[in-house]
Symmetry: C2
Subunit: 124 residues, 2 copies
DNA sequence: CTACGACCTCAAGCCAACTTGAGGTCAAGG
DNA sequence: CCTTGACCTCAAGTTGGCTTGAGGTCGTAG
């Protein structure tokens, strides 16, 4: 493992599609591990890329950075419980999303001039 | 329509399950219509209840209050376009959610000690 | 009389997740 | 030699969606 495979912050940012400041922020709050410094500058383990990608997808799914940190770094196996809980939550969310989608589709087709006046809205 | 069927703020809050301050906030930003005042106190149209319920579900689905306001009050029919866009977005979100759900389920079962070390995370 | 509860206004505070700004180091290039 | 660009730190600002606090008005009940 020569130091040449360690990435500068700009590289991490670019390849994972987030800003440099966001990478620094992630490091600061500990959701990615603290980079080694070479002449004061951060050098990241390439695995950071995968980790950031996981973080983004988890955020997409509605996890907070704190939850993500907990899940990623847990050594005790408790994370499985957290994930179970989250799976339930996500499934419920998915269901509500589906309900909303079909409701919107219905409203879309109902011929109302304005949504505010639609009986599907006022009587729910 | 006697003034007796107009609701005080506490009633709106209680029956729609949100706080009094949230109702005031909604009125302030215009996402529910400004209540008439009787002796300085707000009296709301009962339809507000349905509207608030729609607002909450829309928020659940990921709409911002600004978007909700736009959709609710549009008179021009443009809201159908907005809803179309949102339907696409929601569907994409639902798909990502499903992906995340199965990924988490997979990680849950993969026998790793820690998520951070799971190849499903590091190689994505 | 006074205390209570429901209401009012206006300003400020809070949280997450970042971004922005000021001010500085360092190496490479024209 | 001077500029440019990538990096650094630390503090403060931003946005959305509310909540909280201070200070005040009513009307009813004890």
């Amino acid at each position: 493992m020569s130091s040449t495979d360690l990435l500068p912050i700009g590289e991490v940012a670019k390849t994972s599609g987030i800003s440099v400041s966001a990478v620094r922020y992630y490091e600061e709050i500990g959701v990615i591990s603290s980079a080694t410094r070479v002449g004061g500058k951060r050098r990241f383990d390439p695995a950071t890329i995968g980790r950031v990608s996981f973080i983004r997808r988890a955020q997409e799914a509605g996890f907070s950075l704190e939850e993500i940190g907990t899940i990623l770094d847990d050594e005790t196996g408790i994370w499985r419980v957290l994930v179970d809980d989250k799976l339930i939550e996500l499934t419920e969310r998915k269901d509500r999303l589906e309900t909303m989608i079909s409701m919107l589709a219905e409203i879309r087709e109902c011929g109302c001039g304005a949504v505010a006046a639609c009986p599907l809205v006022t009587t729910s």
